[in-house]
Structures are given as C-alpha cells and as structure tokens.
C-alpha cells in the first residue's frame, strides 16, 4: 500500500480538521522536535531524530493528577481526568516507537497477571487514543546505535503503522497493530494499492565491541557493581537531567503539591535519577550520594533492571543521551567496557 505525499497531506489536514492532535517533527529554535502541528507544512522532513522523544505526549513532563481544597476539617480531593484528544504521531522513529513498550511495562507493572496491581491510567488513557505512525529511517547519524541493541531503522515494534519512503517520495504503508489496521481502513481512500520501489535504508553499523547479552550477565555480578571503573567513566558527569529527559524510555516521576491559598493541585512531574536529591531520604541519608552512583544506576536501570523485570528493553539506541550530553558522556563506551 502506498500513500502519496499529497494524500498524506490531505490525511493530515483532515485529521487536524477533525480536531485531532497531530504530532510531528517541527523546527523550533533551531532544533527539530516533536510538536503539535497546525498544518502539514509545519512538518520538517529533514531530520534524523528529533531532540525530544514523543513520550511527552503519552507521559507529559508535568500534569495535574488531583486537585484539592484544604477544608475546615478535611482536605477535599478531586480526581483529574486528563483532557484526551485523539492523537496521531506522524514521523516517529522505530527506536522511539519501540520505547512505548518499555513505558507501558513500567506503568502496568504486574497488572496483567494481577489486576489488583496499580496501572497508571494517565499513561494508559493517553496511549489508548494515540496512533503511532512511524517513518523508517533512511540513515542514522554517528550517535545512532539501534542496531547494536537489537532494533533496526525499520523495526515495527511499538508502531501502529510503519511508513517507508519510496523512491518517488511517497510512503509505503504497513499497518502493524489492530489500531493501525483500523486506521488504515478508516482512511483507505487516501491509500492506493500501488507498489513503488523503496528508498534504500542504510543501517547504522553494529558496534562489534558491544554485546547487550553479555552486559546484562555481567551486571548481575556484584563485583562489577563495585568496580572502580564506574567512577572513572562517570567522573565528568555533571548530574543534569538532559539525558533522562531526552530518553524515550526514562519514566521516573515525582509528585508535588502546588497550592495557592487553600486550593491546590497535585502534579506528576518528570524526575531524573541523575539529580542529587532524587534519592535523598527524609532522614538526610542519600544512598546515591555521589554522581557516579547515580550514573551507574541509570545504566543499571537500562541494562540490568529492565531486562530482569520486563521483557522490553531499557535502551532503544536512539543516541539522544549522547547527543545532548554537555560533557559528551557516551553510554556506548560503558557498554563496550561491560561487553569485555
């Protein structure tokens, strides 16, 4: 199935016309990032991977989860139902799409086997109205390493629909999920059954020195946890949240209350394990009291905790943490060390 560029434009304009939220790569402040578009022409096509992942449209950086009023005797609580708009993410990348499974794993942890366990409805409700239309990458940049973590520039995981660019500049359409199939059905008029040759997809080089299986195994070793090399690799880490906030799979959040007068909101905000106060206990004790411990945790989370607890991967190889790091801390260097 092919959707011609022009028809894709019609499709997008129609979706917007229906009041749906279309998220696509746009150019803002010199950066390509995912954002809501007002028209098809807002879309930037010249990009490897936007600076943000589209996770913020499923799991916003800040959102109200309850409102309260401090009353005379009690605090009156009122739940918040997020304002839901049907959302189409157009132009996500296979790595980002694959990350939704990772997010879902956390936000529904154990709930499938045991329904009494907690499910994060805020995430699930948003996911339930979101259609992910991925466009396979034609090439990566030097920081892309999806192939090293078991994905490819055309992996369908996590996408509802996978688009691949044809030599004529149109897109081959592959519905992946039921939702994707339904979407394609709904908009069948815009899609033809023609065939076109696909543009060649250039895979990022698989880094030979890295073996994720080996990394997982080595991280189970307590001695590795205490290896002084951690200090060495993370010494330059400045402890900002740039990597975690750019990462499509990082999911940690904090809960804060913000009140004016006697009324307030309870908000759920992204949090970063790289922040010094992330693990600060009320007692004053901080189990991760220096930066290398926090960085080590982040690495462990991706390559040990995730694979141990979930079937999904903690790292999709999008390379954002490498691109965004102000001190060029390259996660691949550590992966390589642990693959030895």
């Amino acid at each position: 199935m092919i959707i011609k560029r022009n028809d894709l434009k019609r499709l997008v304009e129609d979706l917007i016309g229906q009041g749906k939220r279309v998220i696509a790569p746009i150019m803002r402040m010199g950066l390509v990032e995912y954002g809501e578009i007002g028209s098809f022409d807002d879309i930037t096509w010249d990009y490897i991977n936007p600076r943000n992942s589209f996770k913020e449209f499923l799991f916003p950086q800040t959102e109200a989860i309850a409102r309260y009023r401090i009353g005379k005797k009690d605090v009156e609580l009122e739940g918040v139902i997020p304002e839901l708009r049907e959302t189409i993410v157009l132009g996500s990348r296979p790595c980002d799409a694959a990350s939704t499974a990772s997010l879902r794993s956390v936000f529904t942890w154990g709930a499938e086997e045991d329904p009494s366990r907690f499910r994060d409805d805020f995430y699930l409700m948003r996911e339930g109205v979101t259609t992910v239309m991925t466009i396979a990458c034609l090439k990566g940049d030097e920081d892309c390493f999806c192939t090293t973590v078991g994905l490819t520039p055309e992996s369908p995981e996590g996408s509802d629909i996978l688009l691949k660019e044809t030599v004529r500049g149109n897109f081959a359409v592959t519905p992946v999920t039921e939702r994707g199939k339904a979407f394609v059905e709904e908009w069948r008029d815009y899609i033809t059954d023609e065939r076109e040759d696909l543009k060649e997809i250039e895979y990022p080089e698989v880094l030979e020195g890295i073996d994720t299986g080996k990394i997982g195994a080595r991280l189970s070793d307590v001695d590795v946890f205490d290896d002084p090399v951690w200090q060495e690799v993370a010494r330059k880490c400045i402890g900002c949240g740039a990597c975690t906030f750019s990462c499509p799979t990082c999911h940690c959040f904090d809960i804060v209350d913000e009140a004016t007068g006697y009324e307030g909101e309870r908000r759920k905000n992204w949090d970063a394990c790289q922040f010094e106060y992330f693990t600060l206990h009320a007692s004053g004790h901080n189990p991760r009291d220096t930066q290398f411990k926090r960085w080590r945790n982040r690495f462990l989370c991706k390559f040990h905790i995730y694979p141990t607890k979930f079937t999904s991967t903690g790292c999709v190889g999008c390379g954002r943490c490498i691109r965004v790091c102000p001190v060029a801390l390259d996660i691949r260097e550590v992966m390589e060390w642990l693959s030895r």
Binding site: T62, A64, T260, G261, E265, R267
Partner: protein, 142 residues
C-alpha cells in the same frame, strides 16, 4: 484588557522601622487612601528577596511595592543600601524579561512621611490599574 469592576491587587513589602511606621502614622493622622494594598512587614528592606516579588506575582498580585527607610536612616545601618543594589539589578531583569515596570515600585518612606505614603499608595494603585490585570503572568499557570 481592563475588566469591569476590576481593582488591582498590590502587595507592599515594607520595613518595620520606617515605612511601616509611616503607614501607621497615615492611620493615626486619619489620611485616606485607596484600599487595594496589602502590607507584608519585614524587619528591613535588606530582608526582601526578589523571590518575594516573583511569588507575589505568582499568587495573583498585579503590582508590587517595596519600601523602606531613606538612605542613611536604616535602623540596621545599611540594609536599605543592600536592598537598593539588589533592586537596581532585579528591576532591570524584570524589565528585560518584559515585565511592565508600572507593576514594580520602589520607594523610601520614613516614619514621618504619612503624606508621602498616602500619595504613594494612591499613585501606585493608579499606575498598576493603568497597566491592567497581570494576565500575562496568570497565563503561566498550567
């Protein structure tokens, strides 16, 4: 911009020794002035942090007044000089950020300047009113 029946809300951060006493004197002298000001008393203008002003705007103030002892009169010798320096910079920062300076006022009012206090408050309220409700800041709320 201006809503009907809208009156500005102004927070005044004042020092205990001069301006607060000056405002008291305005009271004992039964001077009348506009009521839209809420005073928060501090020991000295040197205690006043720019964060107070930001927070006041966050909490719905349309204008802010900061007032203390005249130079040389500070009960604590130099608190107002320290304050003056901070205000020079902070005011420029607010201006650069695009905040209408009709909303931010600084003054020296001594314990004897009840008349000045009255006129000042009326004038500040009038100026803030001319700037309208601080909707731009309110829109920052989620």
């Amino acid at each position: 911009m201006e809503e009907k029946g809208w009156e500005p809300r102004i927070v005044a951060f004042v020092c205990n020794w001069c301006t607060y006493a000056g405002a008291d004197l305005a009271g004992t002298s039964r001077l009348e002035y506009r009521p839209e000001v809420r005073i928060i008393k501090l020991p000295c203008t040197g205690r006043i942090d720019p964060l107070f002003i930001i927070k006041a705007f966050e909490k719905g103030a349309d204008g802010v007044l900061v007032s203390g002892c005249h130079p040389g009169d500070c009960h604590y010798t130099s608190g107002n000089y320290h304050a003056r320096r901070r205000w020079i910079v902070f005011r420029e920062l607010l201006k650069f950020a695009g905040i209408d300076l009709r909303r931010v006022h600084f003054s020296w009012v001594s314990a004897s300047e009840a008349l000045k206090w009255r006129d000042l408050i009326n004038e500040v309220i009038e100026t803030v009113r001319s700037a309208g409700p601080f909707e731009a800041y309110r829109r920052l709320n989620p």
